[in-house]
Symmetry: C2
Subunit: 258 residues, 2 copies
């Protein structure tokens, strides 16, 4: 189902998408690779409900690059992948969402390939898909937007002016990964390029997980509402989309009856 | 894991992503919904390997909108969804890839909601993720592209000039759905807006399936190579990406030894 570069050594590295957090959103292929693994090197954001599915004898290593624990740089992760592979292990490199979307996959494949190890990619459900499903909407819709852009908040400071202008047009939709810290910057640029102030923006924190939270706001109110919401989990920012009305009503009903 | 709008009627409609074709790329949630279904309304492009996983008593209905058989329009599909739901059935509406990406999901949700039926969305692996995994690449890469755009070839004639200009820049990457027929148009616009003629373009036909085929070409050669390749299956066009070198070599090796 995926790329596989077969070589002579016995180790194998599977780059596996863990999806957004709900273990039911793992693919069958991911589950199989995970159960067969000798070693699992995983990101910090992988949920416990997913990690518990690893084979009983699998060694789990948190190579998360942010947070409070010891810090891993990309070189160390590459070295560890190669070392475990060269020892003949079946290694799963478990990444949140889809490894091909903001997953820093290429650096790791290059290291594994340079060491002559076999590898494969098992795609996963990316956060944008889970977040938009969580608000009952689509990433694309006939007559509204015929394209969808995935962006990372980290890199939007390098965005060209015509990108901002395109994004500022009515009807545009974008999924912004890691966009919380850059919310004020994004707001300023979009308004400067003519975006309507009441353009809907929806943040979905912990998409697909039991603690999923939805913040429905507008471009105008984004920084203030975000500050007040105090979101600590991973959040996906949906620019140009509001929750479907029925979902919004249901969310409010659940809140009232919690 | 998904949106659910609960109401008084007994029927339930699950909008389920079937992924790109490999049954191993179904999610666990999709598999469960599928096994529990009384009725499955599916697109034309769903593979037999996926359809065989439906519960033994499930009624399968092909509501594909293209091809040779009887033609279904969106209104007929909506009516059928509602009718089966109102009869108290558990209905799976199975869509290729991810239902939130070029899946015409909103029209169907609106019909189901208007009838007061419960529904949920189960996200799936979209074709872009499977296609890029199939050539050993990522949709985004640090230092190359910090955003990825999903487009549909059908709608690119309505693209504004600044969209073409943005796409024509070096390092841009886009996943073009249903882009075969519009290949010559896309080529013309991009070159007119300054795209380099040897920009890599890769078409992945039947991504993730045993009959997956990869056509590695360039913007310059796209229409000629595509005509020669005679691709009849669904294909995803990756603009700005070539297959990873090792994958390319492996593909050629397999061809020689076939």
């Amino acid at each position: 189902m995926t790329t596989q570069h077969v070589d002579n050594t016995t180790g194998q590295i599977d780059f596996v998408g863990a999806g957004p957090g709900d273990p039911e959103l793992l693919t069958v292929a991911a589950l199989r690779a995970f159960e067969a693994a000798d070693v699992v090197l995983h990101d910090r954001l992988i949920s416990d409900e997913v990690l518990i599915l690893a084979g009983a004898s699998a060694k789990l290593v948190d190579v998360g690059k942010a947070g409070f624990g010891p810090s891993w740089d990309q070189g160390d992760i590459n070295d560890l992948l190669v070392a475990h592979g060269q020892n003949g292990n079946r290694v799963v490199r478990l990444k949140s969402g889809d490894p091909t979307v903001f997953g820093r996959l290429d650096e790791e494949i290059e290291a594994v390939e340079a060491a002559g190890l076999s590898w494969s990619i098992v795609p996963g459900i990316t956060a944008a898909s889970a977040a938009v499903a969580g608000i009952g909407q689509s990433l694309t819709r006939r007559g509204r937007n015929s394209s969808i852009r995935f962006l990372t908040g980290h890199d939007m400071k390098g965005f060209a002016d015509h990108d901002w202008a395109a994004l500022a047009r009515r009807g545009e939709v974008a999924a912004i990964y890691m966009g919380k810290k850059s919310a004020r910057f994004i707001q300023g640029r979009l308004i400067m390029h003519g975006a309507v102030r009441n353009t809907p923006i929806t943040l979905v924190e912990n998409a697909s997980r039991p603690d999923q939270r939805v913040l429905a706001t507008t471009l105008d109110r984004l920084p203030a509402d975000l500050a007040q919401a105090d979101m600590n989990g991973p959040a996906l920012t949906l620019y140009g989309l509001a929750p479907r009305e029925a979902v919004q009503a249901l969310t409010e009903f659940n809140k009232e009856h919690a």
